[in-house]
Amino acid sequence: MSKPWDPDALFLKAKLFVNHAMDEEGRQFDEQALWASLALELLAKAALARVSPVLIAVPTEEGHSLLVASGLVDGDVRFTSVQAKTLFARCARAFKPFSEKESKAIAAARNDYLHAAAPAFTPIPPDAWWPRFWAQAQILVNACDRVLEDLVGSDRVGIVDDHLTKNKQNIEHRREMLIERARQRLGLYQSGQMRAPEAQQWTQHRPGDLTAGLSYSGSADCPACGDSGTLEGEDVESAKHEFERVHEDDYDDWMELTVGSEYFSCDRCRLVLDSYELVDSAELPPTFEITTQVGDYWEPEYGND
């Protein structure tokens, strides 16, 4: 039997579900989206299991699934895998720019459609939903070290490429819209033409109100007003321990971190770009450097000296 964490078997099952979603059998969009959302979960499992089966095993007290996935226990122990939300959270950390927010929205729509009274899969029209789905699925296919052709076949790659092109256009349109609106708002405020309730809200703003509160932050020029805005990120891509001799027997040391940009906000024009894709589309730096105290990042090795 296939192991339940066999990444190739998981990928093939995802392929079957994608076939159900794309086959021209007269399925309604709701059913197609349901199959596609199930395929996304399988792709997430395949991508993580490819790194280690332990990444998809449910960590219970007895650790049955973990033990089986790690190969320490062999036998008929039932293997249970983690929920979709956990899979997607892990994929977001491991396979950038996979979006936890987008994938969880797809999973939530699926759950509502399957388990609740929701009559339709999503209020988002198919023309807008498929580009967003394929933007995420493509990242997971790549994380499986496969190409889209492996998942959908060469005869259907064109359909997916059209969706991906549309997704890129959607992101560009959204970026343009957000930047333009930020400029417009700032212009209205500066010219005194802003409506009273909005102007009152504008003046109540405090620096930092728009930040996401991620672990690390840096600065970058705002693509809307040119002022200095805040770039934020959660994941450290590289870390370097630096030190300088300040006296004969005294050193200063610090950490220089490179952090992935995930979120941008500007206190002046109030622009917010809340995803990696939007930050990237606005040509903001993909990473930023920060300096932090060594103790904030890691504790030095113990030495009994």
Binding site: A9, L12, K15, L16, D23, E24, G153
Partner: protein
């Protein structure tokens, strides 16, 4: 062909009730067999099949290769259609064309999606494009690349063949797993 069978087996035409349980003979008996690859239900089917017949008989073996016939091979369906493969209590998913080899046996593989249905339908029409290999010489050997060709036994119409058509089958791998 079973996973623990010897690489050498002896095949005789038998009626369905005489065939081994869960075998092609048990389903098709003396009727014409559908085009198939041997061991399609196994995780790792044999790469080559050698069929050795001691005495001539009047029931040919049919062969199909992608270059047979004029109808185009629906490769997209063969590569991307997904089948459920049943082997006793084991089940797994597979496509007909994968990693450079063909795997198909309609007796043990059930189409799961539209492209798989189209692929299965293609091999029904491909029956019109088969080459027939007649067994007319003594100690004749037919070597089949089981990764690239499908085969099947034609219908047994001569009652004498039921006792005289004895085929020794050697199944073997040439590629490392």
């Amino acid at each position: 062909m079973r996973s623990n069978d010897s690489p050498h087996s002896i095949l005789r035409p038998v009626a369905p009730k005489e065939g081994r349980r869960n075998s092609m003979s048990a389903v098709h008996g003396l009727d014409e067999q559908p085009l198939h690859t041997d061991g399609a239900h196994l995780r790792r089917p044999p790469d080559w099949i050698a069929l050795i017949v001691e005495k001539p008989n009047s029931t040919p073996t049919k062969l199909w290769r992608p270059q047979n016939g004029s109808r185009p091979v629906p490769w997209a369906a063969l590569e991307n259609g997904v089948f459920l493969v049943k082997n006793g209590s084991e089940r797994f998913l597979a496509s007909i064309k994968d990693v450079g080899r063909l795997r198909y046996d309609p007796t043990s593989m059930t189409p799961c999606d539209l492209r798989a249905v189209q692929a299965a339908a293609f091999f029904v029409t491909a029956e019109a494009d088969v080459e027939e290999h007649p067994w007319i010489q003594e100690n004749e050997i037919l070597l089949i690349d089981n990764r690239k060709a499908l085969h099947g036994r034609k219908e047994v119409t001569d009652p004498a063949d039921r006792s005289t058509r004895v085929v020794h089958r050697l199944a073997f791998q040439t590629e490392k797993p």
